[in-house]
């Protein structure tokens, strides 16, 4: 009973929003970071995207993507990244707030 009322009061999905994420992404070299960052930037709830290349390989590039916004939906971010043929290697930083 207590747990039910607690979870209702503090429903994580409704009260806490992701405002900043740092994601480590491996992407094909054909996809340039301008297009990639613009696509992420056009997602609702994201206000700012910073992408920096950290490693360059023959066919791939590792990039550090920093997304900032009022309400970042990670599922959509993930879908956009995957849509560009890139994969998320790790999530290195997350900031959430109410």
């Amino acid at each position: 009973m207590f747990i039910a009322s607690y979870s209702k009061k503090h429903d994580v999905r409704h009260n806490v929003y992701i405002q900043r994420m740092v994601i480590d992404v491996l992407k094909p070299r054909e996809v340039d970071i301008i297009e990639f960052s613009k696509a992420l930037g056009s997602v609702d709830g994201i206000n700012e995207v910073t992408t920096s290349v950290t490693e360059v390989d023959v066919k791939t590039e590792t990039v550090k993507v920093t997304v900032k916004g009022s309400n970042i939906d990670f599922n959509i971010v993930m879908k956009v990244i995957e849509g560009y043929g890139a994969v998320i290697r790790s999530i290195d930083e997350v900031s959430v707030s109410k």
């Binding site: 094909p28 996809v31 609702d44 560009y84």
Partner: protein, 206 residues
């Protein structure tokens, strides 16, 4: 604050933006350009052979030449389309598979996969379309002759002039791409056309 969004809210670029992105990612423009010039050259040469061969054996019926050139353009179109489609597909699939191996992921449905599909189709259309288009354009004088707008000799001359002009323009285009002397390329193409004309007329006389 907004609620969690459904997956339909993934932003998708408009049609033209998508095409531009596919072209950029697949780097198809260089391949398509090469296919275009190579096959337009093929089409022009074939037409030159057909026209001069017909002239030297003295064919007087424009319908005959038109049907030969339409069949030739159809054959070149189909062969170009199928040939380029299969070759290009194999190359592109290989590239995607190599990338998949490098990234340890499945790229099906990603922009890389879609761009390679697009590049395959575009190459095939260019490869099939360019010779077909060139041979159809160069047979326009015979269509005019069928309708009695020009006589047979003028249609032969008109067709040869069109073909040689196309060859020259292809050369100029190549010159522009390489940023070298356009005229030099144009003249080389023109000379190759004239050589074909000479050979065709000699063979026709035998």
């Amino acid at each position: 604050m907004e609620e969690i969004k459904s997956k339909d809210e993934i932003p998708t670029p408009g049609f033209l933006d998508r095409i531009r992105l596919y072209v950029k990612i697949s780097e198809v423009s260089e391949v398509a350009r090469r296919y275009f010039v190579m096959n337009a050259f093929d089409g022009a040469m074939t037409m030159l052979g057909v026209v001069i061969g017909s002239f030297s054996v003295g064919i007087k019926d424009p319908r005959l030449i038109l049907s030969v050139s339409i069949s030739a353009s159809l054959a070149m179109g189909v062969s170009g389309f199928v040939g380029a489609f299969i070759t290009e597909r194999a190359e592109r699939v290989k590239r995607v598979k190599e990338l998949e191996r490098a990234m340890l992921t499945n790229l099906n449905g990603s922009i890389i996969y879609k761009a390679s599909l697009f590049a395959t189709f575009l190459s095939a259309v260019v490869d099939g379309g360019s010779p077909a288009l060139v041979s159809l354009v160069s047979s326009i004088p015979f269509i005019l002759a069928i309708f009695g707008l020009i006589d047979m000799l003028s249609s032969y001359i008109g067709s040869i002039v069109i073909v040689l002009t196309i060859l020259m323009l292809l050369g100029v285009y190549l010159g522009k791409i390489s940023r070298e002397n356009s005229l030099k390329y144009g003249v080389i193409m023109l000379i190759s056309g004239i050589i074909v004309s000479l050979f065709s007329s000699i063979i026709g006389k035998i």
